[in-house]
């Protein structure tokens, strides 16, 4: 075990996988010499050389497209996109090719690639640097969308993503990069994608969230406990494919109440999908309408007001109380 921050865990997963498999390569803007603008790839070029840790020209569409070519020909590329808002520059390749090539070739071609990007607000950065994009990509068949919320999952899930045979959009919680530390297993360690996790057991309200929102969600759950409301807190971890419905379902069968917390704008996001599935499969167990706490259907504000957009513990707590007293 080693005490690590999220960013160290991400660095350590890549270092381990680069060591383990000579087909793993890493590419992106400023990832080599500088070690990434957030230092996620710090030291990796020095250790694994310029041929495997590649500083690219400034062109996201090309970074993603080149990764597809590399993956087709037997490599396992990890592409870093500097900020989540710029994944969209490579949208065509990610959606129309990476996610589709297995289906399009009837299984002959696989695309084992990971696109990593810092994700989520709260760091007072510029426009386009902090928007939550998981919903946009979760609708794409064939593309895995995953987001860890802590150092242990960051290391384990990233290793699993690199070893897997599907393209993965790996969204990293920027505001937690250095905010939390935890003991992380050394050596060979993976956390399978597609599995949610109960991080706190409870019987009053089921609370589901993911990525950077887990912190505020857990804070709100702790405050709810002071008012005698025991939340069962679930970290979704993988957004798509959403194969963890059973876990949420089991919890809702116990609590009868569901609150989903999502940083992205309210409409058409993962929260809506989770609530729809629970309505479809657990309607008879519900004692309150499933509720969601989300961002708003507008742009994430600039630095001064961005915290008003991101669901804070007070807003989450108030919805927990509403659900529990319904």
């Amino acid at each position: 075990m080693t005490l690590m921050s999220v960013i160290q865990a991400i660095n350590s997963a890549m270092a381990y996988e680069l060591e383990r498999d000579s087909n793993v390569v890493l590419l992106g803007e400023d990832v080599g010499y500088e070690g990434g603008v957030f230092r996620a790839t710090d030291g990796l070029q020095a250790k694994f050389g310029k041929q495997r840790v590649i500083d690219t020209p400034l062109a996201e569409e090309n970074i993603i497209a080149t990764s597809i070519g590399m993956a087709v020909a037997g490599l396992r590329p990890i592409a870093e996109i500097q900020f989540s808002g710029f994944v969209g520059v490579g949208y065509n390749h990610l959606v129309n090719h990476a996610a589709r090539l297995r289906y399009r070739s009837r299984g002959k071609i696989k695309i084992p690639m990971v696109v990593r990007a810092p994700h989520g607000g709260g760091i007072r950065a510029l426009e386009h640097h902090c928007e939550c994009i998981e919903g946009t990509y979760a609708q794409v068949p064939g593309l895995v969308v995953a987001t860890p919320s802590n150092p242990v999952d960051a290391r384990g899930m990233l290793s699993a993503a690199i070893r897997g045979d599907d393209p993965v959009l790996f969204l990293e919680p920027t505001r937690l990069y250095r905010a939390v530390k935890a003991e992380v297993p050394d050596g060979d360690f993976t956390v399978p994608l597609g599995e949610a996790k109960v991080v706190e057991e409870g019987d009053s309200v089921t609370l589901v969230s993911w990525g950077p929102m887990m912190k505020n969600t857990s804070t709100a759950a702790a405050e709810a406990k002071n008012s005698g409301i025991n939340c069962e807190v679930i970290d979704l971890r993988t957004i798509s494919p959403l194969d963890s419905t059973d876990l949420v379902l089991k919890s809702v069968q116990k609590t009868g109440r569901l609150v989903v917390v999502q940083e992205a704008p309210k409409s058409f996001g993962p929260a809506a999908e989770i609530i729809a599935r629970i309505n479809e499969r657990a309607f008879d167990y519900l004692q309150a309408p499933p509720m969601r706490v989300t961002g708003y259907d507008t742009q994430l504000p600039l630095g001064t007001n961005e915290d008003f957009f991101i669901p804070d513990p007070a807003r989450i707590l108030s919805t927990i109380k509403k659900a529990s007293s319904y």
């Binding site: 603008v37 400034l58 950065a125 386009h128 640097h129 742009q299 007001n305 957009f309």
Partner: protein, 356 residues
């Protein structure tokens, strides 16, 4: 003949001031003293603004800023040479263009302080917002230029971008479109040698960015971007070509980004002090200022006065921004052409919850 030459071309570099600040007699644009003094005043004002914006961020009074120190000549001159009705599509590094076009610096500070209303474009001229997705704004210029041409209004569009941005597909696609339809569009590339930590040699393998113009049938030229006389000369030609219907020009201005990429960046990690010092010798504060002194445009007294006035204007702008108060409720405005029922509902819920 089985083998014939399909294409031949070469790309020129223009400079006017030599190392001892003497202009080339042929190329000297012979600018009037009034114009030169105004140019000097604006460049000083911009440099003070730049330093202040960094200082405010360091003091925790504003957020991320991308300084332009070293790139003033390009931005200030273009601001002075365009008509208010011409359009510009700038990047995040072009605050000096805004200032030269007459923007209120107080409004720029309101943006840097992270208020929604700071995003209102502070100019009376035709300018797009400072664009952050690198290179994307290059593709809007040809559309604007096409509209200008269709409307027959003589307007020109200028798109601004860096050496890093020249690697994006948008720039190539934009040049191609502008060339095919011979559009009044100027592609203004400021090659400041660095894209964050990435040196320009990782952006292109040829001798220049300017030469890329040739393959699109566009006029391309490289210029010493820290020599205002050379830049005036080159931009004037490009403007004339655009207004005369002769099509687009790609200008690659060789500059240096003296500051950090942004206030979040530490350039010491990837470049040496010696490199910075070498480029510093080319800065306009050396050669160009000497030229102005030698030609009686400025002297010690004028310089001190210009400095003082610039500092006062910047301080006034900061004071204006400091008194600005906003409400987070502003985030619900301007999403659609009119408020929508759902968003209005979310806004009311928000106001009630936060008591705003």
């Amino acid at each position: 003949m089985p083998v014939t030459t399909v294409f031949e071309g070469s790309t020129q570099r223009v400079s006017v001031l030599d190392d001892s600040a003497v202009p080339d007699s042929q190329l000297d644009p012979k600018l009037s003293k009034d114009f030169l003094l105004e140019l000097y005043k604006k460049m000083i004002l911009c440099r003070k603004f730049d330093a202040k914006a960094i200082a405010l961020q360091r003091q925790g009074r504003s957020f991320t800023y991308t300084p332009f120190e070293g790139q003033e000549a390009v931005q200030v001159l273009i601001g002075m040479m365009l008509k208010p009705t011409d359009w510009t599509c700038p990047s995040y590094r072009e605050s000096a263009l805004y200032i030269s076009r007459g923007a209120d610096m107080g409004d720029l500070f309101v943006y840097l302080k992270g208020h929604e209303d700071g995003m209102a474009i502070p100019n009376k001229t035709n300018d797009m917002p400072l664009s952050i997705p690198v290179g994307s704004q290059t593709a809007h210029g040809p559309g604007i230029a096409y509209a200008n041409k269709l409307k027959g209004n003589q307007g020109v569009a200028v798109v601004f971008f860096g050496d890093g941005a020249s690697s994006q597909g948008d720039f190539h696609e934009a040049m191609n479109f502008a060339s095919i339809y011979k559009l009044p569009c100027i592609f203004m590339c400021t090659n400041n040698q660095w894209a964050i930590s990435t040196p320009c040699k990782i952006q292109y393998n040829g001798a220049s960015i300017a030469q890329r113009a040739l393959s699109y049938g566009v006029m391309g030229v490289q210029v010493d971007g820290m020599d205002p006389l050379a830049f005036y000369q080159v931009f004037d030609q490009a403007l004339k070509r655009a207004r005369n219907g002769e099509g687009p020009t790609l200008i690659e201005a060789i500059c240096y980004r003296f500051g950090p990429h942004s206030t979040a960046d530490d350039p010491k990690k990837y470049r040496s002090e010696e490199e910075v010092a070498t480029w510093r010798k080319m800065d306009w504060t050396g050669r160009f200022v000497t030229y102005l002194r030698n030609n009686g445009v400025i002297n010690e007294q004028i310089e001190a006065q210009v400095d003082q006035e610039a500092i006062a204007s910047v301080e006034q702008a900061v004071a204006k921004a400091d008194t600005y108060t906003d409400s987070p409720v502003q985030m619900f405005d301007y999403v659609f052409s009119k408020p929508t029922a759902e968003l209005e509902r979310q806004k009311q819920e928000f106001k009630q919850f936060y008591n705003k």
